[in-house]
């Protein structure tokens, strides 16, 4: 103990040593080789042949420098009961152990080996930072297996073939510009948004006919027509049919939007296209409220606007297909429209310019839709084949059927709102 105190630097002159537990500075320099502490902490330096001598020379100084700090508590409490002293000293003991020749040699050897290994691998693969190439290869294969399943090889081959076919233009689209492959990709992309973000609940999917034409009529809301996208996803996912939405001409005038809309099956909301789709046995979707519906203020949420001019009813009647009323709850809350800048909207040629609580306040962050809870209910189909196709020219009948569809949707909306409860939780 007395010895130790001396070593710590209070008793003897620095670097002198006590002949038993710690050698003197001269003895340490005789020992040669890299000091253990330095070698482990900075192996690179130790490996450097030029730095070897400086390292061995600097090490004792570093050891001395740190040494006075460590025993400070033991020095400050010399009058404390001796029982506590060994306990306080014990953790410091191994660090203060003398560096013996064997230790130094072993550490030097370890450092040299480490350095050699580093240079080897660095030469072989500079980017892999010590991971062998075959391990990376195995990892890629395992990842492919995990993502694509056990038959990943054929699936990757199929994927590459598909990409190649796309690039060579070897694919089919219909006369509306509908590209089933792109629609499939979009469905997969929308799935997490619909299921995880909006926690979509779909009811009454059995009301969608399994084949033949039908006209889906839905309420429109949400500032940005996401409801069309989600409805299309729901129809595809749960009934397996492709929904062909009928969109406003603005959709097709916008770059990119119009292009994508056509590829996923949308077409212009006009009599000709609606009848062409319906007589072709397709499932057409229409949002007759139009911009009045999506652009209405948040305070008027879930209040149906005028249902266009009832053109959708005459289209369905001419094609003799049923009308399926669709009630969408949840889209109203995604971008609560609290303000509008009509003058700027007119300048930009848009029907409205929305201001939501987060847009444009938070910039692009404000474009993230709020995670409201969605319910889409497909109602019981309204039969139109009971009427003659000529009945489409009877405006009074058209107004009546329009009102019937509108009322059905409105009542279902109220019912669903009560069942949903809180919009977000």
């Amino acid at each position: 103990m007395n010895d130790e105190r001396k070593t710590i630097g209070s008793g003897g002159t620095p670097g002198r040593g006590n002949r038993q537990t710690s050698p003197s500075a001269a003895a340490r320099s005789l020992a040669g080789g890299a000091p253990a502490k330095k070698a482990v902490a900075k192996p690179k330096r130790a490996a450097d042949p030029a730095g070897k001598t400086t390292a061995s020379a600097a090490a004792p100084v570093a050891a001395k420098k740190t040494a006075p700090k460590k025993p400070a508590p033991s020095k400050a409490t010399p009058k404390k009961p001796t029982a506590s002293k060994p306990a306080a000293d014990r953790p410091t003991k191994p660090r203060l152990r003398a560096v013996t020749d064997e230790d130094a040699a072993a550490a030097a050897a370890a450092a040299a080996e480490e350095a050699a290994r580093r240079t080897r691998t660095a030469g072989a693969a500079p980017l892999s930072a010590g991971i062998p190439i075959d391990e990376i290869f195995v990892a890629v294969i395992e990842a492919a297996q995990r993502v694509l399943g056990s038959d990943w090889e054929s699936r990757v081959a199929t994927l590459l073939a598909t990409v190649r076919k796309r690039l060579s233009g070897d694919y089919e689209i219909d006369e509306f510009g509908f590209d089933p492959e792109i629609a499939q990709v979009l469905t997969a992309a929308v799935e997490p948004i619909a299921e995880k973000w909006f926690r979509l609940e779909v009811r009454g999917i059995e009301n969608i006919p399994e084949d033949g034409g039908a006209l889906l009529v839905a309420n429109h809301s949400g500032t940005v027509p996401l409801d069309g996208l989600i409805t299309g996803y729901a129809v595809k996912k749960y009934s397996g049919r492709n929904l062909r939405p009928l969109g406003a001409d603005l959709v097709f005038a916008l770059p990119l939007v119009g292009q994508v809309a056509r590829k996923v099956g949308a077409t212009l909301a006009c009599q000709e296209d609606a009848e062409r789709l319906l007589t072709g046995g397709e499932l057409a979707g229409v949002w007759p409220e139009g911009f009045k519906g999506i652009g209405k203020p948040f305070a008027e949420r879930y209040k149906l606007q005028r249902f266009g001019r009832g053109g959708f009813v005459s289209s369905a009647m001419r094609a003799q297909v049923p009308i399926v009323p669709v009630s969408i709850v949840g889209a109203e809350e995604i971008y609560p429209l609290v303000g509008n800048v009509p003058s700027l909207a007119r300048l930009l040629g848009l029907p409205y310019l929305p201001i939501t609580p987060f847009f444009p306040l938070l910039g692009p962050l404000g474009l993230i839709p709020l995670p409201s809870k969605w319910i889409i209910e497909f109602g019981e189909p309204v039969r139109t084949d009971a009427y003659e196709p000529q009945a489409a020219d009877d405006p009074m009948l058209l107004f009546n059927v329009t009102d019937q569809v509108r009322e059905t949707i409105q009542q279902t909306l109220y019912k669903l709102l009560i069942e949903r409860g809180n919009a977000f939780f």
Binding site: R166, S168, G169, F252, P255, R262, L268, C270, D273
Partner: protein, 336 residues
């Protein structure tokens, strides 16, 4: 009774092909004589037909009709203006007016076949997916060739009102895509890279030359009054067409696309009419059910097949060299 057919604009590549087809049909189909008329000398072979060098915009045309006892007039070469030819409007509209005036005077003319264009429907975001013959242009016919063709058709309708005894067939044809036939899209697709409008992928339709010749031949030989759309079945979006041809698209912003694309194409040694940009932005597709059901002709080639045939006659595109085009993949298949 054998017919005497007058074909206008025979110096044009398509009209000369039609005239030759009518000569080939000959007496068997009741065509006794084919008279061709144009302001410039045709470079094509006009064997077996009579060529009259006259300007369709002058009253000379009336004399030609009277002298030759023409009973069938095939009015073709109503084309977008091309480089090196004088004002398209003059030729198209004024020429049609003169021709119709001459026809109205003539007591022999009993049939008029007008080679119109699907451009009469214009091209706009408000277009239905498919135009049928009863629909009118929604937008995009305020200038250039679409405006010309709308006026030409309105003059023909006026003529039909005044001469109800004349059988009038109007063929609204999609652009003929063939290496030998001058058409805006052929010129466009022949470029090594294709300027396109950023964010738009227009749906296009093409008509094969064989189908076009067959349709005009039948319109002359048989009586098929009415207006008919003519195009290959199906549509081909521009992106797909470019990939099939192995030519990369160069997307440009919509603002100023018209002039930028034209300069770009001219820099590559070709030319496109200034009003093609609307077609390249919004595209257009026509419904051909009337052609099949009323006219009684089923186009042999779809738009896609027409494009493939055209691609085969074209030099391979840049992407073909990289093995990304269809024809590139066939060679790749052989290698395997």
């Amino acid at each position: 009774m054998s017919r005497v057919v007058l074909v206008t604009g025979v110096a044009g590549s398509f009209a000369s092909q039609v005239a030759r087809r009518l000569v080939d049909l000959g007496e068997d189909a009741g065509i006794g004589k084919v008279v061709g008329i144009d302001t410039i000398l045709p470079d094509a072979d006009l064997d077996g037909m009579k060529f009259v060098r006259a300007d369709v915009r002058t009253p000379v045309i009336g004399k030609v009709i009277a002298v030759e006892d023409v009973d069938t007039v095939v009015h073709l070469d109503v084309n977008p203006p091309q480089r090196g030819r004088i004002g398209g409007k003059e030729l198209n509209v004024i020429g049609t007016m003169q021709l119709l005036a001459a026809c109205q005077r003539s007591s022999t003319v009993g049939k008029l076949v007008l080679g119109s264009s699907a451009a009469v429907y214009g091209s706009s975001p408000r277009d239905p997916a498919m135009f049928n013959e009863s629909l009118l242009a929604r937008n995009g016919v305020r200038s250039g060739f679409p405006k010309d063709i709308v006026e030409v058709e309105s003059y023909v309708r006026g003529f039909a009102r005044r001469r109800p005894d004349v059988i009038i067939t109007t063929i609204r044809a999609a652009q003929v895509l063939h290496a030998d036939v001058e058409s805006p899209l052929r010129n466009y697709f022949s470029n090594p890279v294709l300027p396109s409008v950023l964010g738009f992928d227009p749906r296009l339709q093409f008509l094969s030359l064989t189908d076009a010749l067959e349709i005009f031949g039948q319109a002359v030989v048989h009586d098929r009054p009415g207006t008919f759309n003519a195009a290959g079945e199906g549509v081909v979006p521009l992106s797909q067409a470019a990939r099939r041809l192995g030519r990369p698209l160069v997307p440009m912003p919509r603002l100023g696309f018209a002039s930028a694309a034209r300069r770009f194409v001219r820099a590559m040694g070709s030319d496109i009419p200034p009003d093609l940009h609307r077609l390249l932005t919004f595209g257009r597709a026509v419904d051909t059910s009337a052609l099949r059901e009323i006219f009684g002709y089923e186009p042999a080639l779809t738009s896609e097949q027409t494009l493939d045939e055209f691609a085969a006659s074209l030099r391979p595109g840049i992407l073909t060299a990289m093995g990304l085009s269809t024809r590139g993949s066939t060679t790749a298949g052989r290698r395997q």
